[in-house]
């Protein structure tokens, strides 16, 4: 299939598709970060994670409409406001869900999976009732449109660069929170020994609640980024949940670097292959490769050997 292209063409194609995959990469990283925090730190599988992302996307859409109607002069800056609102909305919903549902199920991971799936169905129907079944799209502000010409054949979309920088920033903030802040130490203490953490005065229930909220909030930001690559509908989130889980598992559940590396690998593989074959076959091949590798190396790419 590479036959009809010259080496130079191929280089340009790979580079362009690579940059085109940046937003997908960002969405994967943000979704996977949220999932990895919840799964890696709390052992909970959140099947409704995609719906938390879509909540963020809807919030972004509403914010952009609001700015367009009432504050057209400030429209160019709506995205930053939308992102923060998306984080707050998804995070708050996440904390509510943790309090009402998840905390009763910490010892039954497989049951959490079913319960959160039920939650995802309810959320999907709620979105359909509130926002309608039709998909909605967000208009980009002027400065994010267009692309930067790097060479004659390679051009880079500006929104891709922007979203990726944002993603890296958020990742660094999350890394700081989890590994450097006092709160992050509490989270890790709870992960390692819940009883002991409780005994030394950490409010484990509150830590769980905030952790879950943080994970869902990041999914909300992923939703903001998502509005740039696709239109938002009630079931859009469901399409991403399996991919994101594979990203998390592929990277090794507890490793931040692993999550980023695997998000990069998977999004780039898919984006590059999409140029040469239909999107669905690209997806099949990507997923097959990931599942195949996971069968050979189930602990993921970046897992530590620990004494059990």
């Amino acid at each position: 299939m590479f036959g009809e292209y010259s080496i130079g063409d191929l280089g340009a194609i790979f580079a362009m598709q690579g940059f085109a995959g940046l937003i997908l990469f960002s969405v994967y990283v943000l979704m996977a970060l949220g999932l990895a925090i919840i799964f890696g730190q709390m052992g909970v599988i959140n099947m409704a994670h995609g719906e938390f992302m879509i909540l963020g996307a809807y919030v972004t859409w509403m914010t952009s409409n609001f700015f367009q109607t009432f504050l057209p002069s400030l429209f160019s800056g709506y995205f930053f406001v939308a992102m923060i609102l998306a984080f707050i909305a998804s995070g708050a919903l996440g904390m509510l869900v943790e309090w009402a549902l998840i905390r009763h199920l910490y010892k039954r991971p497989l049951d959490t999976l079913l319960a959160t799936w039920g939650l995802s169905l309810i959320l999907q129907q709620a979105y359909r009732s509130i926002f309608g079944a039709r998909e909605v799209g967000v208009e980009l502000p002027q400065w994010m449109m267009g692309s930067q010409h790097v060479t004659e054949t390679i051009e880079v979309p500006i929104n891709g660069i922007f979203v990726m920088c944002l993603t890296l920033l958020i990742t660094m903030v999350v890394a700081w929170i989890m590994y450097k802040s006092r709160w992050g130490r509490q989270v890790r203490a709870v992960v390692q020994n819940r009883v002991m953490a409780g005994a030394v005065g950490i409010n484990t229930e509150r830590v769980d609640c905030y952790t879950f909220g943080l994970g869902c909030g990041i999914a909300g930001i992923a939703g903001s980024a998502f509005t740039m690559i696709g239109s938002t509908g009630p079931t859009s989130g469901q399409l991403y949940i399996v991919d994101t889980f594979l990203v998390v598992v592929f990277g090794g559940a507890a490793s931040l670097v692993g999550t980023i590396a695997s998000a990069f690998t998977i999004s780039q593989a898919q984006s590059t292959m999409e140029f040469f074959m239909s999107g669905s076959m690209a997806k099949v091949l990507t997923l097959l490769a990931v599942v195949g590798i996971l069968m050979l190396r189930p602990q993921g790419l970046f897992a530590l050997k620990v004494r059990k």
Partner: protein, 251 residues
């Protein structure tokens, strides 16, 4: 194949055994030999690597280097269930039984027959099985509790049940990790009695802190310290070894 490596009369030959967890050597170049029908006790301070040694022998932990020969088999290359089938039985430190099954079913599952998938599917609870289960149940003082859910047993009874499960397995090498820990005084006495009957006609490897108990049963004692052998020999010899007194018995 490797019989030349070891004198024939050793049942278990551990040679140059090392395991490291991220650079930390929990067991370091350890060698010892257990003969047929020998009762060997391993003692040592906490963190000396005693439980890890048992984990390595029964396949729960994989060795970094070294060899464990059981008769003519190399245990380091075998899976847990194959090691059990070869004749090594292990009792864990905390009672490890099947809570959702009855006492009878716990013992029956340990009966060494029908261990393949189709063997289990076609397994018949015939007179041989029933008699053996009842015989063992009598030995472990649980004859009148056969139909009770194992979950409802007391801590001591659970320990006995696990010993019973090993007994019915009829291993050639029996490994016990602190069999009397967490028991009441009367339970201890009964357990010691029980252990004295089940250790006959087989080799036994015991981890124990109760020195009185050790003196009663041990043919030979191995003292571990920081993953290595500090001293080895009869209880009398070990007790008088100044190194042992310093790191362990002195406290």
């Amino acid at each position: 194949m490797l019989i030349g490596h070891q004198p024939k009369d050793f049942l278990l030959a551990v040679e140059g055994l090392t395991v490291s967890f991220d650079g930390f050597k929990a067991v370091n170049d350890l060698s010892f030999y257990v003969e047929e029908n020998e009762i060997r006790v391993i003692i040592g301070p906490n963190g000396a690597g005693k439980t890890t040694v048992l984990d390595l022998i029964c396949g729960k932990t994989k060795a970094t280097s070294g060899a464990i020969h059981f008769r003519d088999k190399d245990l380091t290359k075998m899976k847990e269930n194959q090691i059990v089938q070869a004749g090594v039985g292990r009792k864990f430190q905390t009672p490890s039984i099947y809570d959702d099954l009855t006492v009878f079913e716990n013992l029956e599952i340990s009966f060494p027959r029908g261990r393949s998938v189709f063997g289990a599917l076609t397994f018949k609870r015939d007179a041989v099985v029933r008699d053996r289960v009842e015989e063992v149940a009598e030995m472990i003082f649980l004859k009148d509790r056969l139909n009770m859910s194992a979950e409802l047993l007391s801590h001591g009874q659970k320990q006995w049940l696990e010993i019973g499960m090993l007994l019915i397995q009829d291993p050639d090498l029996l490994m016990l990790d602190e069999p009397v820990a967490g028991m009441s005084v009367s339970e201890r006495v009964k357990t010691a009695e029980l252990l004295n009957t089940i250790i006959k006609n087989r080799s036994v490897l015991v981890i124990e802190h109760d020195m009185k108990f050790v003196e009663d049963i041990a043919h030979k004692v191995t003292v571990l310290h920081q993953g290595q052998i500090l001293s080895e020999g009869t209880m009398e010899k070990v007790k008088n070894d100044p190194k042992v007194i310093e790191v362990y018995l002195g406290h």
